[in-house]
Amino acid sequence: MTPLLPVAVGLLGVFSADQIGRIVESLERNLLTPIPLCFLLGIICTRIHGGIKIPKELYYSIAIFLLMSIGFIGGHELAHEYQEHGVSTIWKPALATLFLGCLTPITAYTVLRYVGGMSIADSAGIAAHYGSTSAVTYAVANSFVEQTQHPANSFLPTLVTLLECPGIAIALVLGAALSAKERAARAAAGGVGRPGPQARQSKLVEALYEVMTGQSIMLMAGLLVIGFVSTMFMDETGFQPFYDFFQSKGMLFRGLLCIFLLEMGLVAGERLGDLVKVGPFLIAFGILMPLVHGFLGAWLGHLAGLNLGGCTVLAAIVSSASYIAAPPAVRLTLPEANPTYSITAALAITFPFNIAFGIPIYFEMAKFVGAE
């Protein structure tokens, strides 16, 4: 259907029958657990017009908890890593992540604009989503590798934080620059009160600042520092209750993730109806682009020295698309972009694909490139 297809099929094609077998097995192990099943329940409920309604305050509160938890436990583990190895093990993965954060919006834009033939605004808008990351995909991937007894390197939350911003920034600047001419023309015709190029630019700066100081970054980075500092300065008994509260293997994190995924399923279910609207290209894009980005993530992660779990998780977050930070930023700066496209792709295609199939595939990819 698209040039992406052979590439992706190629990526999967290099797996032997044995590896395919293992993928299927870990798919099963992954799918028949409460977290993806709750997502499925949400989708089913929406499709049959069932009555589950998660209050948005609960949903949002869980999001806050998950972000704080990712940050805090990340900071805690980072402190241990730091005490043992200094920054020697961290800087390479950090650089690799930043590089991927800059690369993925550009690959996504190129494919959308030149393969898919979408408008500048739409291409840039969708690229902003795929250049950023989804904290919940991180959480699910992290749960997956912990369950397979291959926990990721401790500093992965740091990488999530690093990955959040640059992709959105690059895509928005790209979109703004490229569509400046078109807009200038329309603005000239438009008349009174219309924001000129300057208003546009100040809006762009504003939107970027808002992404960088947004909820996700502030909570993850903030709690990362807090987790780091408290680990360094507190004794263990004092630290324990905070650790128990936030720990990602604990009952609160896993249980609340179930409720969160239930709501995600409810929302994604509503978007399934839009699949027809977005057309086959975007559906293919929403599945194949993550596979490509995921492979890059696993591969560069391995080169940068991440372990098997770490490569898997990095692949998952690089391949994932943001649906919290990106949408309002794109809406404000690229109003011509149709949000139905980007949200449907990120939420109704890529997210469920990653949760159900992507993560086990990235796990095998990570093994394939040699991570352990």
Binding site: G193, R194, D274, R331, L332, P335, T340
Partner: protein, 108 residues
């Protein structure tokens, strides 16, 4: 009971633009505003994107202002948001208690 004839400007639109409109209204001379969460359905409401945060997707904004400021706000909204954002705006007549307070600074 001395009542003062003024205009009530109402804007309903997607959350992402409403704060901006409120601020702009103040710049046009409104002495204040009242904003609230609503649930909306319209011709373009699928444009609404605050899907997965704690915020409502749609908000309603009201200004009590003199006629000239009202028109300025409506013109601003119409020119800047009607093409690409889901929103609706209207005007109605109100009689305001101690209304002279809300004449605004008219620097718009």
């Amino acid at each position: 009971m001395q009542l003062y004839p003024l205009k009530l400007v109402t804007v309903v639109g997607e959350t992402v633009i409403m704060r901006e409109i409120a601020d702009e209204g103040i710049k046009f001379g409104a002495t204040g505003f009242t904003m609230m969460d609503v649930e909306g359905h319209g011709s373009r409401s699928t444009r609404n994107v605050m899907l997965v945060t704690g915020e409502a997707k749609t908000r309603k904004l009201e200004f009590v202002v003199p006629g000239d400021i009202a028109v300025a706000i409506l013109a601003y909204v119409s020119h800047n948001y009607f093409d690409h954002y889901a929103c609706i705006a209207w005007l109605s007549d109100v009689s305001v208690v101690r209304g002279e307070q809300y004449l605004g600074h008219k620097n718009g």
